[in-house]
Symmetry: C2
């Protein structure tokens, strides 16, 4: 385990991840009740989860539906539906990570963005980082 | 209990509320590790909670520290630190509420904004509404 150096300056909040059991039902709720519009609907290549993006200005709402057993399904089972993570946009992902522990190497996630999750929560907040 | 009609179209996500036990410690973490800058630091007139706003583009991160016993302290004790609520900016708060149940009448919260919380979570998400 390395130390936790700073990960640099965030540009803004890229998206808020919301864990849902049924993305179609959640899209129905958020579009009908709050006027959201779906901008992307993506299934991870291995079929492990589905991400639906709802337009809401610079910061998007991302619905996360686990599709197979794994860490995300574990999160859904243990914590239930609700706010799951926040994703900070940084200039340079590799530079921002530095030797900060992450739960995997950076990978290409939804919307073709290069992302990674920090291994340790910050004051209970699961933090993802992405770059433009 | 009334029905849950739509609350209209959101303009964007105004802020994300993060429950923290110690706002000073959390400000230290988020400024040192992610380069956030504090823009507002406000204690509710009754002294029940403190709100610290961290600049992060159009969508602000709001740290919520309960200071006295009450519903927020109950949330902190039962759920711990972490993502707490999301606040949607709408054109007209009263129109957006309609006859949608809220947990109080609209009131003036942090940064002088008129706000209210919806009484029922949406897919586990505690939703606050505010207007410009």
């Amino acid at each position: 385990m390395t130390s936790n150096p700073g990960v640099g300056s965030i540009k803004r909040i890229d998206h808020i991840g919301v864990m849902v059991a049924d993305a179609d039902a959640a899209v129905g709720t958020f579009t009908a009740q709050f006027g959201f519009v779906t901008t992307d609907d993506w299934i991870e290549p291995d079929g492990a989860f589905r991400l639906v993006y709802l337009d809401s200005g610079d910061t998007t709402m991302q619905l996360v539906q686990p599709l197979t057993q794994g860490p995300l399904m574990d999160d859904l089972n243990s914590r239930g539906e609700g706010l799951h993570h926040v994703c900070f946009l940084v200039d340079d992902l590799d530079n921002a990570i530095g030797d900060n522990p992450t739960n995997s190497d950076p990978y290409v996630g939804g919307r073709g963005s290069r992302v990674c999750f920090l291994a340790e929560r910050r004051h209970g907040v699961l933090v993802e980082l992405t770059e433009p």
